[in-house]
């Protein structure tokens, strides 16, 4: 089987990843780099647990072919970068809200919510359920996750929020 080497900047480090034709970014990160913070709930793009940031945009790593990431930059929930602070705030708020149960969905939600807040896609509390439409949590019933995100949202500098 032919395996190509691709160059990806993962969490600010340049990494070389062997990847064969069909391998997804999620598999490459998990199996080759052991970045198991990228969770796999479905491998079909329907649960959101594998969300990562690719060149600044949130993507589903299970649907992203690894070969398509050659020369690009990937950030996971463990990574540094401009969203690091926001992600830490989100994680702390989720813990404080006792929102984390089995925890499988949480890293993906932290990545997605941080990106959407930073991009201004989540501006008010009403935007949150819609923003989470691709994120499945089977344990919590969502309300604590939503209120944790809400809490981080209101603590953001006002240019990220719509004025009430």
């Amino acid at each position: 089987m032919k395996r190509d080497l691709i160059e990806v900047v993962v969490n600010d480090d340049l990494r070389y990843l062997p990847c064969s034709g069909l391998m997804s970014l999620a598999e490459a990160l998990r199996d080759e780099l052991h970045l198991t913070s990228v969770k796999i709930g479905c491998s079909e793009g329907t649960c959101g647990s594998c969300s990562v940031i690719l060149d600044g945009e949130p993507v589903l790593a299970c649907l992203t072919p690894a070969v398509a990431c050659d020369g690009r930059s990937v950030r996971t929930v463990d990574g540094p970068g401009e969203l690091e602070h926001l992600q830490r705030e989100l994680r702390e708020a989720l813990c404080e809200a006792d929102a984390v149960q089995c925890g499988m969905c949480i890293p993906g939600i932290v990545v997605l919510a941080s990106a959407l807040i930073a991009q201004g896609e989540i501006r008010t509390s009403e935007d949150i359920p819609q923003a989470l439409v691709g994120s499945i949590c089977r344990c919590s019933g969502y309300t604590r996750i939503v209120s944790a995100i809400e809490q981080v949202l209101v603590s953001q500098p006002s240019e990220r929020r719509s004025t009430p």
Binding site: K39, D98, C102, P107, V133, R138, S140, G141
Partner: protein, 790 residues
């Protein structure tokens, strides 16, 4: 300061949120191979040709195993389940061959290279087909199978198990002229647990033993059953459980572990198996589909003089948990209310479909749906007030349950009052213009599946405590909240200084598993006893050190002190170090099991438990809006009044209530599984199996009701399982109220709600459930219940 009632946060949350937690599906080991099984594409047939040689010869393929490698038969009530198909297949997705290879790609190639030919037979897909006198028998050797429990059971043909309840003379009551009879039929679909982490495990052959790291709720069952299936000594299997990414009952049975263990043994390398989502959709041990007939005789003063029921539960191709679950209909469908005469037949029925199993509150969910819909139907047809009817008939102190168990406390009554107080005023709930508004109330009774647990506590010289149990953290938080809080309360130390070790069958004694609402109760009680044991030793040492009688000592806030003289104290750490130096480390042990609850003899037959140990009560109520044009249902307000015995960590319980109600809303409204004529489950993933999303679930308001009797630690009851119990019932009653017509099927999808609006369910009948009660009985009912059965 007391550790009880404290809303302690979870120590595992930060790592989980940061993606640092390693689940079984994340475990990577040196030299690890990837394993998988080849699954049947047909529901019923004879394997006429199986050739694995090509696959075996492929470079990078390390082992290919067939049925001979798995000699034991598995089961919960009946050993009827070969772990790889032997000569025939009985459901779509049934494993036929197990393979291990160097990489996932080679693995897929190897699976594709296996030659298998199956001569297809017409599958038995529905229970009506299975019970047809001319139906093919799925297990022609059924009579040879070992019955694994000490229960005298009637079974035969496609009826895997029958559980009956007979009390008093039902025929006589139904023949009376002073009663009115109401009959209802119900049909409910399957529900997939859909834990975000699929079943996953890694096995290693190490020092002649099989070490399995797995995503399970039942480490000890996995240990014992893996051994039995592989035909090795159970002491040669060790099971370790990392944090589990959700279970909800699906992981209450052995799963992929025997394949991983056999492949590890065959190759001498670690082998990991992880089910894909598609495999989980096809083979998860779903909550079973079921069909119910219910008939009640109501007196002029609104009492239930007799109740009769037939329940068919689809166990799929192998019986699994269903023989046990046939027991539970007596306590749910025939629970909640005081009944005169009783007659109930619950059967687990074999079909050529994927085996079903346990899912949070199991058949209690649809038993409660059917019972509470039936209750509202009684009131509608006989023009009674449902609130009065419930208040008058619910179980009270000294009431008899259907199997003759005596209940204590007036908990239902108290909960009905609590829920009435939570009811919003009409204008507090906003209904979309043009939509129909409805309110539904549902009463529910559930239990704690108590059973044996063991615990050991090391009280360390630094004053911290380590608790060793086979308790698993499946997400509910019990092992990081309630249980450390229980231990801390007894030892007088802070709950943060109590650590619960991850489950390892080499370290911790036997445990039934995490599920059935038993964690806080059974593991908690064993932990409490271990804590009391070690506390006694601590006080003995302190008495020596402080020259005070141990009777005059207490432990609080991490210090041993003289009662009434808080100035004379030593820290727990000081005393523990002293004891360690003088006598060796401080260790306490605890063991716990059910006390058993009496029922009337002769009432129940084929039951694995005859009465509810530690019953739990709950009342749910909700307001819904129904769009009359589309049948879409929106839940506007949802309220829960739950008997918790004692709330050890109230926030954790509320988290379970919110999550359980969300799963219940999925069950009630959107999660639909359909099986085609070839026996194939049609939903392949989250794209076509519609789980509740953030926008679907309202914030549930809950009241935790304390003080009802329980022999759990500090009076606690299980709180994690029951929140799903009443949801379909409450929502169903609210929909019926909104549209003014009964609804009798789950899930209540928009097309079904529209059908109900057209009055379909007023005459909804399941043809195969129209015969007299005796028609359904397998075996000699009089012999099973004694002469009173007639």
């Amino acid at each position: 300061m007391t550790a009880l009632g404290m809303n302690m946060r979870r120590r595992d949350a930060a790592d989980k949120a940061a993606g640092r937690t390693v689940y079984a599906s994340d475990v990577i080991k040196p030299r690890m191979l990837h394993g998988a099984v080849l699954r049947s594409g047909v529901a019923s047939g004879v394997i006429t040709h199986l050739d694995v040689e090509l696959a075996r010869s492929m470079p990078g393929v390390r082992a290919v195993l067939t049925a001979e490698a798995f000699p034991g038969l598995y089961g919960v009530g009946i050993a009827d389940h070969p772990w790889l198909a032997r000569g025939e297949v009985r459901y779509v997705g049934e494993p036929i061959v197990a393979v291990a290879a160097d990489s996932p790609l080679i693995l897929q190639a190897a699976l594709a290279a296996i030659e298998v030919m199956i001569e297809e037979r017409t599958p038995v897909v529905t229970m009506a087909e299975a019970l047809d006198p001319d139906a093919p028998i799925l297990h022609p050797d059924w009579a040879e199978y070992e019955v694994l429990v000490d229960v005298d059971v009637a079974r035969g043909g496609n009826v895997a198990w029958q559980a009956t309840v007979v009390r008093g003379d039902v025929d006589e009551v139904f023949a009376r002229t002073d009663v009115r009879i109401v009959e209802s039929h119900f049909r409910v679909g399957r529900q997939n647990q859909a834990s975000l982490e699929t079943r996953a495990c890694v096995a290693t052959d190490s020092d002649g033993r099989l070490v399995i790291e797995t995503s399970t709720q039942v480490p000890w069952s996995v240990r014992n059953w893996t051994a039995k299936i592989l035909g090795v000594d159970s002491s040669s299997v060790r099971v370790i459980v990392p944090p589990v990414g959700g279970g909800f009952g699906m992981k209450f049975e052995v799963g992929l572990e025997p394949y991983a263990a056999a492949l590890a043994r065959a190759t001498g390398q670690p082998v990991r198996l992880v089910n894909s989502r598609m495999e989980e959709m096809a083979t998860a041990l779903c909550r079973e589909n079921a069909e119910i007939r219910l008939r009640s005789a109501i007196t002029a003063d609104g009492r239930i003089a007799a109740r009769e029921g037939v329940v068919l539960m689809d166990c799929g191709a192998y019986s699994g948990e269903q023989p046990f679950l046939t027991t539970m209909t007596a306590h749910t469908l025939f629970g909640n209310y005081e009944l005169g005469s009783v007659r109930l037949n619950s059967q687990a029925v074999y079909t050529n479909t994927a085996p079903t199993g346990a899912f949070r509150a199991c058949n209690g969910t649809y038993g409660t749906f059917a019972l509470e819909r039936h209750t509202d139907e009684i009131c509608r047809q006989l023009d009674l007030d449902p609130e009065d009817f419930r208040a008058c008939n619910v179980l009270k102190d000294q009431s008899l349950g259907s199997t003759g168990q005596v209940f204590s406390g007036n908990v239902h009554h108290e909960l009905l009052e609590v829920i009435a107080g939570m009811r919003p005023a009409l204008d507090e709930v906003e209904v979309p213009a043009g939509w129909l508004r409805g309110r539904g109330t549902a009463v529910g009774t559930w239990f704690v599946f108590v059973g044996p647990s063991a615990a050991t506590i090391n009280l360390n010289a630094d004053g911290s405590a380590t608790l060793v149990t086979a308790g698993v953290e499946i997400g509910s938080g019990s092992t990081v909240q309630a249980i450390p809080q229980i231990v801390a309360e007894v030892l007088g130390i802070s709950p943060e200084s109590v650590v619960v070790m991850q489950a390892d069958t080499d370290a911790a004694g036997y445990d039934v598993g995490v599920g059935g609402g038993r964690t806080t109760v059974s593991l908690g009680a064993a932990a409490q006893e271990a804590a009391l044991d070690v506390r006694g030793k601590l006080l003995d040492a302190a008495s020596e050190l402080m020259e005070v009688s141990p009777r005059d000592l207490e432990v609080r806030d991490g210090r041993v002190m003289v009662v009434g003289d808080p100035s004379t104290t030593r820290s727990v750490a000081e005393v523990a170090s002293y004891a360690q130096a003088q006598y060796g480390p401080l260790i306490g042990n605890g063991a716990f099991t059910t006390r058993g609850t009496e029922c009337q003899s002769g009432c129940a037959a084929g039951h694995m438990i005859d009465a509810l140990d530690i019953p739990i009560f709950t009342v749910h109520e909700c307001e819904v809006a129904v769009d009359p044009a589309t049948g879409v249902v929106r839940v506007l307000d949802y309220r829960v009044a739950q008997d918790v015995g004692r709330a050890i960590n109230p926030d954790a319980i509320r988290g379970q209530i919110q999550g359980g109600v969300a799963q219940g809303l999925g069950y009630a409204l959107s999660e639909e599984i359909t099986i085609d004529a070839r026996g194939c489950i049609e939903q392949r993933g989250f794209g076509d199996y519609r789980l509740p999303l953030a926008g679907d679930v309202p914030a549930v308001r809950s009241e935790l009701h304390e003080g009802a009797p329980s022999y759990g630690p500090f009076g606690a009851k299980g709180a994690g399982e029951i929140p799903i119990l009443n949801v379909a019932a409450a929502v169903g009653n609210a929909i019926a109220d909104a549209i003014g017509e009964p609804i009798s099927e789950l899930p209540m999808t928009p097309p079904r709600v529209l059908a109900a609006m057209r009055g379909t369910y007023r005459q909804f009948r399941l043809d195969h459930l129209n015969e007299p009660w005796h028609f359904y009985v397998v075996g000699d009912i009089d012999a099973q219940h004694g002469p009173r059965a007639r």
